[in-house]
C-alpha cells in the first residue's frame, strides 16, 4: 500500500512518453554499489485497520492524562483544550498547506500568523512578535543569539529559575559561539538578586530569567530587568502564556526580549512535542529577529492582504549571514494558540489563570498539612510549587500511580542533591476531588513509610 494511484497501463504510457524502456532506466545514474539489492528488510504492509489496532494497543499501554489526574508541569501542562481548536487545526486547508510562499493562495495562513503575532504582543507586552519558533528552549537560545549580536558582548547570565532543559538547549546552541554562560542561583525559590547583580557586568549581553520560574515562583521582573539594564545588558524573560494573562507582562517591566512555550494554549502534551515557542521583541531589533514574520500590505486592487515580510533576514536569502538557520515556524501549533486565545478571550484566559492559582494554592495548603511534608519556598507562586517530602519524591510518584495520580516531577531528575523535592502543577482541570485524593494518597504514603521505612531503599 503506497498511496499511489497508478495502473500498469498508465505506467507504460508514461515510460513511453519519457522514452525509457523501464523504470530502472530512470535511476541509472545511481551507481550499482549504492543500490539496495532487492527489498529492504522491513515488515510487510499493514492494512489501515490492522495498523490502527496496533497503535491503539500501544497507546493503551501509556498512562495518559485522560485516565490519570495529571499534576505534572515543568513546562508542559494539562490544560483544557476546546473542541473547536482540534476541529479547525484538523482542516486540510491548514494542516496540508506549506509555508506561504505564494501569498495570493495563502491568505488564510498569513492572516492567522498576523493574528497570532498580535496576541503574543498583548500577552508579552512587547512591540513585535514573530510567527513562532520550535519551542521555548530554542526560542531562549535564539534570544541569546540576538542579544549577543546586538550588544557585541559574549557573556550570558542565566537564572537557575530557567527550566533546566531550556538552560541545556541554550548551552548547546551557545557552545559553538564560544559564549560564556554564568548561572545565578535561586534563594528562597527566587532568583538571588545579589548574585544576579554580581554576575551581570559590562561584558554581559543578556540576563535571562523566567516568569514564573521553574519552581513556580513569581519573580520580580522589574528588579531583574533593572539589574540587566544596570550593566547595559538585555533583559530576556521566558514567560508562561497562561501566567502572563494575569501577571504584569515582562514587556511592561522593561524586558527587551520575551520568549516562552505556547503549549499551554490549546496544544496537547504529546510527550513533549510538537510544541511552539513564542518570540517577542522591541521594534528597534526587528532586523535581528529570527524566523518568519507576517505583515500587512495591499494588492493591485487596493485590497488588504498579508505577506511574509523582511525576508532578507532569513536563511533562504541571506544564507551564511542570516539571523538564524530556522526555515519553518510551528504553523499548526501557532494556529492552535490563536484559536485557543480567540475562544477564551481575555476574560476566559483570566479565568484559566485564576483557577490555576486558586487550585494550586488549595492543593499546596492541603499537602503541606500532611505531617513531614513542607513547602520549602515562602515566595508567591502561580500554578506550580515544590513540595518537600519526608522521603524520595520518585517513590511517592510510583505510589500515587495506584490512586490514578501522576503526582509531579521529582526534582532529582535535574538535581541529585534534592531527592525529596517534588514539583507539582495544578491546572484549571484539576478538581477538588482529585486534589483531596492527592492529599489523602500523600498522607497514606507518609504513613506507610513510617510503618515500613525499608521501602525507601527499593526506590532510589
Amino acid at each position: 500500500m503506497s498511496f499511489v494511484g497508478r495502473s500498469d497501463a498508465e505506467r507504460k504510457a508514461m515510460l513511453d512518453r519519457i522514452g525509457a524502456r523501464s523504470l530502472e532506466d530512470l535511476w541509472g545514474a545511481i551507481p550499482k554499489e549504492f543500490r539496495v539489492p532487492g527489498a529492504l528488510a522491513l515488515p510487510a504492509p499493514l492494512a489501515e485497520y490492522e495498523n490502527a489496532k496496533r497503535f491503539e494497543a500501544e497507546a493503551a499501554r501509556n498512562a495518559d492524562a485522560g485516565r490519570y489526574a495529571c499534576f505534572l508541569g515543568a513546562g508542559i501542562y494539562d490544560h483544557f483544550i476546546p473542541s473547536a481548536v482540534r476541529a479547525i487545526t484538523s482542516r486540510s486547508e491548514y494542516a496540508t498547506a506549506y509555508t506561504p510562499y505564494q501569498p495570493e493562495v495563502a491568505q488564510g495562513t498569513l492572516q492567522v500568523i498576523f493574528e497570532y503575532q498580535s496576541m503574543i504582543r498583548e500577552l508579552t507586552g512587547m512591540e513585535v512578535a514573530n510567527a513562532s519558533m520550535y519551542d521555548a528552549g530554542t526560542a531562549a537560545a535564539e534570544a541569546v543569539h540576538l542579544a549577543v549580536g546586538a550588544k557585541g558582548r559574549r557573556r550570558v547570565v542565566v537564572s537557575a529559575g530557567l527550566h533546566p532543559h531550556h538552560r541545556q538547549v541554550l548551552a548547546t546552541y551557545a557552545s559553538a559561539g564560544g559564549l560564556e554562560i554564568v548561572e545565578v542561583p535561586l534563594a528562597g525559590g527566587r532568583t538571588d538578586p545579589a548574585a544576579a547583580k554580581a554576575a551581570t557586568n559590562a561584558e554581559t549581553a543578556a540576563f535571562l530569567w523566567a516568569q514564573p520560574n521553574f519552581e513556580g515562583v513569581v519573580e520580580d521582573g522589574e528588579a531583574l530587568t533593572a539589574i540587566a539594564h544596570g550593566a547595559g545588558a538585555y533583559s530576556v524573560a521566558v514567560g508562561d502564556p497562561v501566567a502572563l494573562s494575569v501577571l504584569t507582562p515582562p514587556g511592561a517591566q522593561g524586558a527587551d526580549i520575551v520568549v516562552g512555550e505556547g503549549q499551554p494554549l490549546g496544544v496537547s502534551m504529546s510527550y513533549g512535542g510538537p510544541l511552539v515557542g513564542f518570540f517577542a521583541i522591541r521594534k528597534s531589533d526587528v532586523r535581528r529577529l529570527p524566523g518568519r514574520l507576517s505583515g500587512v500590505t495591499v494588492d493591485l486592487d487596493g485590497r488588504r492582504g498579508f505577506v511574509l515580510t523582511l525576508q532578507t533576514r532569513e536563511q533562504h536569502i541571506r544564507r551564511e549571514r542570516a539571523t538564524s538557520n530556522i526555515c519553518t515556524n510551528q504553523g499548526l501549533m501557532a494556529l492552535a494558540n490563536t484559536i485557543h486565545l480567540a475562544l477564551l478571550g481575555a476574560e476566559g484566559m483570566r479565568d484559566v489563570a485564576t483557577q490555576c492559582l486558586e487550585r494550586a494554592h488549595y492543593l499546596a495548603e492541603r499537602a503541606a498539612r500532611v505531617p513531614g511534608v513542607s513547602l520549602p519556598h515562602a515566595a508567591p507562586f502561580f500554578r506550580e510549587f515544590v513540595l518537600r517530602l519526608p522521603g524520595p519524591a520518585s517513590s511517592f510518584v510510583t505510589h500515587a500511580l495506584g490512586s490514578s495520580l501522576l503526582a509531579g516531577v521529582p526534582l532529582s531528575r535535574f538535581d541529585r542533591s534534592r531527592p525529596n523535592d517534588l514539583l507539582v502543577a495544578v491546572t484549571e482541570k484539576r478538581t477538588r476531588e482529585e486534589m483531596d485524593r492527592y492529599a489523602a494518597t500523600l498522607a497514606a504514603w507518609v504513613k506507610s513509610r513510617a510503618a515500613a521505612p525499608a521501602e525507601e531503599a527499593a526506590c532510589p
Binding site: E33, L42, E122, Y173, V296
Partner: protein, 497 residues
C-alpha cells in the same frame, strides 16, 4: 464571505469582529474556596490591564477560521509542486493515530514505566529508519531539517575537537539550500562554496582544491537541488574521509532514494530526514516538522542527549552521555510527528517504501518530458524525483518565472519553487511527488503549456496574473518599508518600525 462590507477587506481580523461581552467556552466552576488573585500574589505582580484579546463567541471564531482556511491552497485540494518540499498526500490515518489519548495525553516527565507504548513507537520508528538509511546511530530529538543540520555540525565540531583540532571550514555546494550555509555560520565555521559544473554536479576539480586539513565537513544534498543524482558521491566520500573530514547528507531530497539506494553505503557519516517530506507527515502551514539524524557508529557518542536504547523487551532513555553535544529540544522532539511517520511506514511496508521513490521518479520524468519542449530544462537526461526548468525563453517574451508561477495559481495549481536553485536563471523547480496520478500530472502539464502559449499570444494576461485568487499580487515592498505586524500597528495606522 466576511461579515465586513468593506470591499477592501477579504476577511476581517478577530480584533475587528470583537464585540465586548461576547464569550467562547466556559470553564468548570471553581470548586475550592476562592481567595482572589490579590490575596495570593503581590499587587505589583498583577497586570494593571487585561491583555486586549478579542471577545468572540465560538460560532464566530469557527466561521472566522473556516473562512480564512478557504483562502489557502493545500495538497488535499490540488497538486503542489514545490521543488524540494515534497508536498505529497498525507494519509488521514496518521493524524488519527497521533491523536489517540494514549499518545496525545502523555507528559514528557512521566515515569518511563508509564509510557512503554510511546517508547516502543519511537524505538520501532528508529529501526525502520536505520534500515532505510543503512546507518546505525539515530536521534529524533531535532524537530526540523535545519535543526538536524545544526545538530550534525555541532557534532562534527565535537568529534574534531576530540581528535585534537576543531578545524575551520565546511564545504557547501553552490546549489545547496540556504539552511546549509546559515547553519555552518551559526556553528562558527567558515563556509567554503564549491561550484557546480555544466552537468549540474559538484565540480570535482574545484572540490579537490577546496578540501584541506581545515575541512571539518562537507554538506551534500543528494540528489541535488537540480534533481540530479551526484554519481561521484563515492569519490567525494573518499576524498572527504582522506582529509579526516565528515560527509553530511542533506536529506531534503530523500524521496528519490528510499528503498532504492542506501545513504550509508554511499559513505555518508551523517544524514538527515525530514519526516514531513519523505514520510508524509503534514506540513502544517510551515510546521511542525520532524527531524531525524542518522550517524555512523563512532559518531553516536556525540548525539543529543538523551538517546533511546533498547532495554530487554522495551526501551529506555539513556541520559548518561558524557560526550553528547547536549540537548537541542526541551523534551524528546516532535513525538506526535514520529507517531504519524511510523503510521505511514507501517502502511507502506517494505514494498511500499520503495514504490514511493520509484513512482516519484517516474512522475518527475513524465512531467519533464511533457514540458521540455516549451520550457528549457536546466539539464538534459533523466531526473530523479524533481527537475528544474528555466523560464528564459518566456522571459525573452517578457514573461518571467514569477509570472508563470502566478498564472498557475489562476488555474488552481500551486506554483513550483521559483528562483531556486540560484545557479539557474529564471528557475522553476518542480517536484510532483508520487501521490499525483497521471491525470493530475497531465492537467498540470496542459496548463503549463497553455501559459507558454499565453506568453506568446497574450503576455499581459500572464504578467497580470493572478486574477482568480482571493487577492491579486501583493505589494511586498510596501509591507517591508512600512511594517504593520499586528492589530496594534494596524490600529495605530502607521508602520511598526
Amino acid at each position: 464571505m466576511s461579515v465586513t462590507r468593506d470591499p477592501s477587506i477579504v476577511e476581517a481580523t478577530l480584533r475587528e469582529v470583537s464585540v465586548a461581552g461576547h464569550r467562547g467556552p466556559r470553564l468548570q466552576p471553581l470548586d475550592v474556596p476562592a481567595q482572589g488573585a490579590a490575596a495570593l500574589l503581590p499587587r505589583v505582580a498583577l497586570r494593571a490591564t487585561a491583555p486586549a484579546l478579542p471577545e468572540v463567541s465560538e460560532p464566530s471564531v469557527v466561521r472566522h477560521f473556516v473562512n480564512l482556511s478557504t483562502l489557502n491552497h493545500h495538497i488535499d485540494k490540488a497538486l503542489y509542486p514545490l521543488g524540494s518540499c515534497t508536498m505529497k498526500y498525507n494519509p488521514k490515518l496518521n493524524d488519527e493515530m497521533a491523536r489517540l489519548p494514549g499518545f496525545a495525553g502523555i507528559h514528557p516527565f512521566q515515569p518511563e514505566e508509564t509510557v512503554p507504548g510511546a517508547l516502543a513507537v519511537i524505538g520501532e520508528l528508529h529501526e525502520w529508519l536505520r534500515t532505510i538509511m543503512g546507518m546505525p546511530g539515530i536521534t529524533t530529538q531535532p524537530v526540523a531539517g535545519a535543526q538536524c543540520e545544526l545538530t550534525a555540525i555541532l557534532m562534527a565540531r565535537a568529534y574534531h575537537t576530540d581528535h585534537g583540532d576543531p578545524r575551520e571550514e565546511v564545504i557547501v555546494p553552490d546549489s545547496a539550500h540556504g539552511t546549509n550555509p546559515s547553519t555552518v555560520a551559526q556553528v562558527g565555521y567558515k563556509v567554503v562554496t564549491v561550484p557546480s559544473g555544466p552537468d549540474g554536479l559538484v565540480d570535482m576539480e574545484a572540490l579537490k582544491k577546496a578540501i584541506s586539513s581545515k575541512t571539518a565537513a562537507m554538506m551534500l544534498t543528494n540528489p541535488n537541488t537540480l534533481g540530479i543524482f551526484e554519481r561521484e558521491v563515492g569519490t567525494i566520500a573518499r576524498w572527504i574521509h582522506e582529509a579526516g573530514a565528515l560527509l553530511y547528507l542533506d536529506g531534503a531530497n530523500l524521496n528519490a532514494m528510499v528503498g532504492l539506494a542506501s545513504p550509508g553505503a554511499m559513505g555518508f557519516d551523517f544524514a538527515h530526514i525530514n519526516l514531513h517530506k519523505t514520510f508524509s507527515t503534514p506540513h502544517g502551514g510551515g510546521g511542525p516538522g520532524g527531524g531525524v539524524l542518522c550517524v555512523r557508529p563512532d559518531l553516536e557518542p556525540y548525539l543529543p542527549s538523551p538517546v533511546l536504547v533498547s532495554d530487554g523487551p522495551g526501551y529506555r532513555w539513556d541520559h548518561d552521555r558524557p560526550r553528547s553535544i547536549g540537548r537541542v529540544h526541551s523534551y524528546y522532539g516532535n513525538f506526535g510527528i514520529l507517531v504519524r511517520a511510523l503510521a505511514y511506514m507501517r502502511s507502506l511496508g517494505a514494498s511500499g517504501v520503495a514504490e514511493v521513490s520509484r513512482e516519484s521518479i517516474l512522475n518527475a520524468n513524465y512531467l519533464k518530458a511533457r514540458l521540455r519542449d516549451a520550457y528549457a530544462p536546466s539539464h538534459e537526461g533523466y531526473c530523479m524525483h524533481e527537475f528544474v526548468l528555466s523560464a528564459n525563453r518566456q522571459k525573452a517574451r517578457g514573461v518571467k518565472a514569477l509570472d508563470v508561477a502566478k498564472r498557475l495559481l489562476d488555474f488552481g495549481f500551486h506554483a513550483p519553487t521559483t528562483y531556486f536553485p540560484l545557479i539557474v536563471d529564471e528557475a522553476l523547480m518542480i517536484e510532483p511527488t508520487e501521490t499525483e496520478t497521471k491525470a493530475s500530472l497531465d492537467a498540470f502539464a496542459d496548463v503549463m503549456l497553455e501559459i507558454d502559449r499565453e506568453s506568446i499570444e497574450s503576455p499581459d494576461v500572464v504578467r497580470g496574473a493572478p486574477t482568480k485568487t482571493p487577492v491579486r499580487r501583493l505589494d511586498e515592498a510596501r509591507a517591508a518599508r512600512n511594517l504593520v505586524l499586528s492589530w496594534q500597528d494596524l490600529e495605530a495606522g502607521h508602520g511598526g518600525a
